[in-house]
Amino acid sequence: MAKLTREDVLKLARLARLELSDEEITGFQSELSEILQYVEQLQDVDVSGLKPTNQVTGLTNVMREDEVRDYGYKTEELLKNVPKVKDNQIEVKRMLG
């Protein structure tokens, strides 16, 4: 039975790059445990001889020619939702603090 500790929640939050408040950490500890306990009913299902399904309509490797198509978009237009742009590139903060 999955019962998440505070450390488990903090580890997940770190992996997912989520800053959580103390209240959220406590809340998620019980909520996520409850949800995981619910989905754990699958552990008892017999799936011997079965393979996992990833794609339901049976399509595999849909290929196309590797050629440039012009959809008429301008770089500036595609960047207009980006918080910080410099010389038509996305500007981010320095990686090492």
């Binding site: 997912a16 800053e19 959220e24 009913q41 079965l50 996992p52 207009k80």
Partner: protein, 470 residues
Amino acid sequence: MSQWLPIADIAAKVSTGELKATDLVEQALKTIDEKKEFDAIIATTEERARERAQKVDAGEIKGHLAGVPFIAKDNFLTFGAETTAASNMLRGFVAPYQATAIEKLEAEGAICVAKANLDAYAHGASTENSDFFTTKNPHDKTRVPGGSSGGSAAAVVLDMAPFAIGTDTGGSIRQPASFSGCVGYKPTYGLVSRSGVVAMASSTDVIGPLTRTVEDTALILDVMAGRDDLDSTTIEADKAGYAKLDGSLKGKKVGIIREHMGESLDPKIIAVIESSVKKLEAAGAEVTEISLPSLPMALAVYYILCPAEVSSNLGRYDGQRFPYSYAEAKDLDDSYFGSRGRGFGKEAKRRIMIGTYVLSSGYYDAYYKKAQTVRTKLINEFSEAFKQVDFLVGPVAPTTAFKIGQNANNPLQMYLADIMTVAVNLVGNPAISLPAGMVDGLPVGLQLMAPQKADRELLELAKSTEELLV
């Protein structure tokens, strides 16, 4: 009674000049304004809608949907208003291009007039997870309209436009259609391109219409369906199209799903479903009971696979590429944590956390891979069932619309609202919710399901069924 004619009639009358697209757009905008207390709409696209209406009236834009106003769930990229997916993360996002579905509707002359509310990123069953506001049920303002396409369903029932479009990942079109009282259609996986739609769980996400009648739904599907180079999961549409339906119930084999008629269901809802099935039988359908033994596991499968895919699809909202960014961040890592921690609402975070857990090393086999394998078992059981019957029938949801706030502190209880809708998303089959009756003043939907790619046959059955239920 609705103020709107059948969609085909509206388009025909606009094409002959008997109706003016500009009047239809004003009529839709007026209704949206008059019914704004239901909070179904996030924003109108009125300026662009008026311009397009003028072009339709001038004969510059023609087609099967000429001048027909519609409302798009706000996770469709559209011009004329922001596209937010009801999330703070995307507040201020101006789409640089439109969703393929929108482009196809517009190419036939339809006019988008507004963007409808939803649970943020489509995570929810009530619109209560919208980062902005909760939509009210058209039949009772103290109740939810269902979700996540709750704004779209409410908008159709409130008669704001002849149709709306939504997305269905685990029931998000059918369940609000059932709660609010309209037709809601989930096509076969891949039948409608998802290009330009904010992704939730890519292995189950589909796009579909919400309308007043099956005929309207069929016409909209006909326009939206088919292959699209911008979505490699798309499949070919039926060569006969979907717009012209015939067929009768005589000799059709319909299976009642035993696992969905159990004790957990409100007896009054069972009564509505049973009376609907009797009508099908009286009209000549051969009704039998069908068992899909793994069906009770579908929700558990879904709540592993869906959060896993959500955690991946929401990875792009990192504070660098989309509007919301934590301004006080010291460095890049701080910007990721701060932007995601502050920008995402509680349900998005919850799903990211679950998804991260089931995909993390050490747990992947026990959760994610196991769920994908039980999914195969479900697919096999559905295939077996469709060897015995042409269609499956059952309820859409275990309850009618619940009170706003009732499940707010119990996420698992909220997830249970999807228990009868998620299975077809996992197996990729089409399904429809039809208004079947009322229980204590609230609508109840009847769900019909068909084999993959039998969308046309399903719509034909639904049309014959609808005539019996009205």
